[in-house]
Symmetry: C2
Subunit: 439 residues, 2 copies
């Protein structure tokens, strides 16, 4: 993509309404634009990141045997009356009356709707287990939306739902999602720690939040350093095998959010040199709530004895749009965003320092072609701007690598590569630069 | 995917509420399930098709240099007051009041919002042209929603918007979308004919509908057979070149919907043997409307002389969820759906005729692995069911090819391949079958 053509409205000033760094950086980098309070348009740069995150989430759900479907945003009020949650949800639920006076709502979550779908077609224990998910926009009418996409009103979530015959089956599904979540966040370059959690309005008696560590995180968390040092992706896991031992290795170590923190237990269980207190952000939440919805809504199956029993259920959420902000909170410096490679909007930012100079134009254009041929996504800054502005903008949007083509380097046959995360710079021939970036 | 695990709630009965064949088949094939009137959940089989269509649309938009972003579903009423359309839209607009009493709405289209976004960051003719699109759920509160996803209330659309300095630029954008639309539909195996159209509530003075031919289409269309016989994909087109001659070859031939049809002109312009009257379905609509929104909303840029001029705009829509129904209307027979290969939910349906028989299980399982290794998406019917039920279900869901593994064939070392579209069957060795399917 040529910067001269790309729709990238970066801002020079820090917008005054943005209180946290991810919100500031997303506005400054031209990733989002507010449409109403807590409701954003995702501009091309931001949308690229959102889709990359969504795709990682999807691939890991698919790998776990979770099947994708899509429920609508607008739901009928009736099913929420059936479950008993229509009144519980209060003013956070965006209630709508259609032209015929029917009560509808913009779904804040989907336990009722998925239960109705599965109930209509699953008859017997032989149809179970089922693990279904969707990635859909949701709405919560927050009283004071703020922090950009971290606490927006219209937000994108992945939510999965498991349906099993019994507690053991439900626990298997829970464990599968537990392990899948660890892999999902690790693939985004994040350190995610599962922490026991309250179940809140979803209900149930087993629940974990997934908290990622971020310098500027919203809350304080306490955990055993060993959990942080684990390399989740290097451990091969059989998702169809017994995952209880894996889950146990995570839940047996101390990890707690501020609200659940017990200082005496922390000190007793964790040796001093492994005690970590850090800032964290919630990016996922999983629930086992048994028959709460299936009983209320009559979602039963015939068991092996032919008796009708309510299905055992769980639900599993990842805040997809929230993750864009959360990743920035975890990955930034004074100059801007520092994207992990797997979610970066482009792999490489190519800077032509002297647009209009024949040699620079030729070398930059050749490099642009070569990088794209090698399969990399490249943002090519071909704009007629001062070098300082170009460097600052490229640092702000935080692509993993920058390639700088300038007249001075070309005289000695080199271009400069900058690693955005480490800040290290290398002077290399164009061929070596290409080889370096495509390893 | 193994059928025994797949969430595919097919129906034996034709649902009485479904009046048209695509609605009937989508319900029977377990593709969708109604949530409220005109609002559907997309079950896994249907969602696979929806995503394949969306991806083709996206690839062709990207190829045209159109940049993807995403606007939210919920919009503020203010911008619709600015354009003057807030009252025009009447009861079809789903109006919402949030907890603070602010007037919002579920977007039925996005001219206002995109104009506001572009206006905020585009200052000069040097920032133009811009061609932006998104794929997003929209809502129109139809008084009597019917015909399944063909006229739903919550529906998925791709809409693009072009911003240019002058009429000539806008016409270039219009032509680019015109040609891109022809390619998009052709890739889905459809015959799409552009027809001059009324501009309706969008406004403007140049507009074409894209109508696909379908035996059971909603309206009668009349055209020159030559338009139908064109092979759009075989013609290489330079999308950055002058497309007016290409557009002219389409618009110079007779093509009209029922409302615009002029029998005398039809007979004068088209030789009798080329006169086609057929059924059609609208699947896209493009508009050039000049400065209608940019003037009302003050979206101006400085031109070469430094004067502020309103931007010239167009908008370009494809009904993505509607296309799922439209394709079925165009591609079905008495037994069920006949998917074009590019949008089929799976490439191959593999039927094991005798589950539990050692030889059949082994041969079917081997075939399943081989087909997947060859990169094909396979739905493997490993359910313990009668052959008649299996054949009927596989015909119903309409995958391009079926591979049948049965005890009789295995005795002579063959499996059967059925081409769903032609109905032709071949007996081949498993190796030849594999080669046949992976060409």
């Amino acid at each position: 993509m040529r910067l001269s053509q790309f729709f990238l409205p970066t801002l020079k000033e820090v917008p005054s309404e943005a209180q946290i760094v991810s919100h500031q950086l997303m506005l400054r980098a031209g990733m989002i634009r507010q449409s109403s309070a807590g409701i954003y348009s995702w501009l091309p740069l931001g949308y690229r990141v959102l889709r990359k995150i969504e795709q990682i989430v999807r691939e890991e759900q698919d790998a776990a045997g979770c099947q994708e479907l899509l429920m609508p945003t607008i739901q009928p009020a009736d099913i929420w009356r059936e479950s008993g949650r229509y009144d519980d949800y209060g003013k956070e639920m965006l209630r709508i009356t259609d032209r015929h006076g029917r009560e509808m709502l913009y779904g804040p979550t989907n336990e009722e709707l998925i239960t109705e779908i599965v109930k209509a077609s699953v008859r017997s224990y032989r149809d179970l287990p089922k693990l279904l998910y969707h990635v859909q926009w949701k709405f919560r009418d927050e009283v004071r939306p703020r922090f950009g996409v971290m606490r927006g009103r219209e937000f994108l979530m992945k939510d999965s739902y498991s349906f099993d015959l019994d507690r053991e089956g439900a626990r298997r599904a829970y464990n599968k999602m537990f392990v899948t979540y660890l892999r999902t966040y690790a693939r985004m370059g994040l350190k995610a720690i599962p922490m026991q959690a309250d179940t809140g309005p979803i209900g149930g008696d087993l629940s974990h939040e997934f908290i990622i560590l971020a310098q500027t995180g919203e809350s304080e968390v306490f955990c055993d350093r060993e959990l942080i040092e684990r390399d989740v992706l290097s451990e091969a896991v059989d998702l169809d095998g017994d995952l209880q031992p894996v889950v146990d290795t995570w839940t047996s170590r101390y990890a707690a959010t501020d609200e659940m923190h017990e200082p005496t237990r922390f000190e007793a269980e964790v040796p001093e040199d492994r005690r970590v207190s850090a800032r964290g952000i919630e990016v996922g939440h999983i629930f086992y709530f048994g028959t709460k919805y299936s009983e209320a809504m009559g979602a039963t199956v015939a068991n092996q004895e032919g008796l009708q029993v309510p299905m055992e259920m769980g639900s599993y959420g990842i805040g997809v749009s929230r993750l864009v902000g959360a990743i920035i909170e975890a990955c930034h410096d004074e100059a801007g965003i520092v994207w992990p490679r797997s979610v970066a909007p482009f792999d490489v930012g190519l800077i032509n320092l002297k647009v209009g100079d024949l040699a620079c134009d030729k070398a930059a254009s050749d490099m642009y072609q070569s990088l794209r041929l090698a399969g990399l996504d490249v943002l090519y800054d071909d704009a007629d701007e001062r070098a300082g502005v170009k460097f600052a903008n490229m640092d702000l949007i935080g692509l993993p690598f920058q390639v700088v083509v300038g007249p001075r380097g070309l005289k000695t046959g080199v271009v400069e590569i900058k690693n955005r995360a480490t800040g290290k710079r290398y002077e290399l021939s164009p061929e070596s630069a290409l080889a370096h970036l495509t390893v």
